[in-house]
């Protein structure tokens, strides 16, 4: 069965347009073949054994290649569609334009109207994305870091063994659930609080999804920070305590600076997670591209627009649909960069303190 599933996927990658029924049938055939190989190897002759060993090695290598195919698949699918988009609309306008108004594009696709009146300036989308991400980090970094400090420096073992998995639960809650929570529970609270201070807040304000997203990424930050703080050598703490420093001073001035590369790395990972987060913003943030610095207004994000332009009834070829891939491309590049920087920082930390468990 292992081989079967692999076979079906390989077939998928090789042959285009095979109806799925045949695919399933094909995978069954390959599965049978795999079973035959399996049976054959139960009592291998000595010289057959090497052949089997070679086949196995190739099958395993093939499996490992799938992950590479996936990355290239993502890159290829996004880039090729994005390029088609940029043939219709200039890259420069996409990057610097401050109006996102794809409304007219479907008319053009339907053969009516003038497609050029559609505008795809992504600045308001990125502004919204970064606003919500910033709010999320403002919530998650202090809470996550301080929780990590408590767990690694203060908490008794018993509290630690309970608190860590409980925090992880926050990361395990599906984002669609967070989205509902943000839209139904948190947003009205924000509107009420804003109203109390005489401010006018939209029900699709950026604060509610930002806060809820922040809650979601707390464990990303606390978990990695906790690991990093734990791997700061104890001798460094003792060195500080032996100079007559209080525990708080030791943590603030010695432990946290020593763990800083790892903490930054955790924050970057959290940031990358927040930038790419979709459901919370789709459900709780606005749909209207809005370039504003006021988090109480509704604003939309890159991921919201991707979903919006792909769930409508447009032709796949329309500029609006393709714009989703252009946005996806930027998202891919930004999150990939953040992840790589994060990996480099954690590697630097690891080399500095020669810890291997991170």
């Amino acid at each position: 069965m292992l081989v079967g599933a692999l076979g079906s996927l390989l077939l998928l990658l090789l042959g285009a347009d095979i109806p799925p029924m045949y695919l399933l049938a094909a995978s069954l055939v390959v599965a049978a073949a795999g079973l035959a190989v399996g049976v054959a190897q139960v009592k291998p002759h000595f010289h057959a054994r090497q052949a089997i060993e070679r086949v196995i090695r190739w099958v395993l290598t093939g499996a490992a290649m799938i992950s590479i195919f996936t990355t290239f698949g993502i890159l290829f699918s996004i880039i090729s569609e994005a390029l088609r988009f940029f043939q219709m609309h200039s890259f420069w306008d996409f990057i610097t334009g401050t109006t996102w108004n794809p409304g007219a594009s479907f008319l053009a696709a339907a053969g009516r109207g003038d497609g050029s009146s559609a505008e795809f300036g992504s600045v308001p989308l990125f502004a919204g994305t970064f606003m919500i991400t910033a709010i999320a980090l403002l919530v998650a970094v202090p809470i996550g870091l301080l929780s990590a400090v408590y767990m690694s420096e203060y908490a008794p073992q018993r509290v630690r063994t309970i608190a860590k998995p409980v925090l992880e639960v926050l990361a395990g809650i599906p984002t669609v659930v967070y989205g509902f929570f943000a839209a139904i529970t948190v947003a009205p609270i924000i509107v009420n609080i804003a109203g109390f201070f005489g401010l006018d807040a939209s029900y699709n304000n950026a604060v509610a999804p930002g806060i809820v997203m922040g809650i979601m990424i707390i464990p990303f930050i606390s978990s990695l920070s906790d690991d990093v703080i734990n791997s700061v050598p104890d001798s460094m703490r003792q060195g500080s305590l032996a100079l007559g420093m209080t525990k708080g001073e030791t943590i603030r001035d010695v432990v946290i600076p020593a763990a800083l590369p790892g903490i930054i790395s955790a924050a970057l990972l959290g940031m990358s997670r927040a930038l790419g987060e979709t459901m919370i913003v789709v459900m709780a943030a606005g749909m209207r591209p809005n370039l504003t610095a006021n988090p109480l207004e509704d604003m939309t994000t890159v991921t919201v627009r991707i979903v919006a332009s792909l769930t409508g009834d447009q032709e796949f070829e329309s500029a609006e649909t393709l714009s989703a891939f252009a946005l996806g491309l930027v998202l891919f590049v930004v999150t990939l960069t953040l992840n790589l920087v994060s990996v480099l920082m954690i590697r630097r930390f690891r080399e500095k303190y020669r810890v291997n468990n991170l």
Binding site: Q41, E53, A63, G144, G172, I184, V307, F325, L331, L336
Partner: protein, 388 residues
Amino acid sequence: MSHSFDEISQQLKRRHRKSARLKWASMGALGLAGLFLVLFFADMLSKGLPAFQQAYINTEVRYTEEASRDGRQAFDQDLIPLISRTVVRVIPLQLRNNPEMIGTSEQRWMLATSEVDQYLKGHRNRLSDEEKAEIDERVAAGQVDLRFNKTFFGSGDSKIAENAGILSAVVGTIMTMIVTLLISFPIGVMTAIYLEEFAPDNRFTQIIEININNLAAIPSILFGLLGLAIFINFFGVPRSSPLAGGMTLALMTLPVIIIATRTALRSVPDSIRHAAFGVGCSRWQVVRDHVLPLAMPGIMTGSIIGLAEAMGEAAPLIIVGMVAFIPDVGASFTQAATVMPAQIFTWSGEPEQAFVEKTAGGILVLLSVLISLNAFAVVLRKKFERRW
């Protein structure tokens, strides 16, 4: 030059207070995170638990000729606005299947409209004052009551709020997860075996490793774009189908399973491999007969956690079209289906108040499944935990 203890202690008072502040702040942060969790679950429970009950009206149903054409005719005139519109089709259908019932009548608990349901639960509703008075009267007479909501667990989606259920989404989730697991488990385990047991330490291996770590951090929505562009548009996998969704999620789950399997394989001590090599096993035999069985609990745990993660995922599935309106329970891997998170998303977009409760109810179902899966994974790990 030297200071006495008293002098030093004096200066230290301020610093100790500061130090204590950090301790309280850090404890507060953890408490705050815990408080979020508690509030969140309390909120979901308070919103979602009522969905498991539904208003029913106990009344006489007259199976007349008229009723076999329009189900509403089976009831008293003043009850019609209060009884779910589903009877329009349900009662004629029932009579067509059992013609001998025509002309009889019986006392039955009938599904009420969601407005009645919301009124009984004290939520916003659109009932008139007379209707409310009518219901209050019947409640007092024991003719209107909240009863266990069979519909919610027993049927698929519906535009009629009181008739909407989670079953088609549950079935869709199961089918999607079967596809996901069938693809990601074998490939993930094989990749991990390759990397841990077979791969030479060269550039190619390093590229694969970096790649896997990156895949784990790519936003899930981008996997949806891949599924749309490659699986659906290029290979022609039917849109909205469990096959398309499952394949997309499989690629997302892959890194989780690979990483978990590698950890499990690495925890098997080399002495076991050396011993097996020593009795003449080939590399594959060593892995198959000695290493894999020992690593299996760890692999299972990781796979279950990966599966739970995929089960809660909505964004990529929306992109591949799994937000379709699915009233009937799916039967095939290639027909349009929906999954629990997508159903939750769809319901959350419905304007009717009754759907808020449905959404939260769906969330409770999803969370219970996820919690059970994770608990199972933890138990599995505890049970087979081994110290070498």
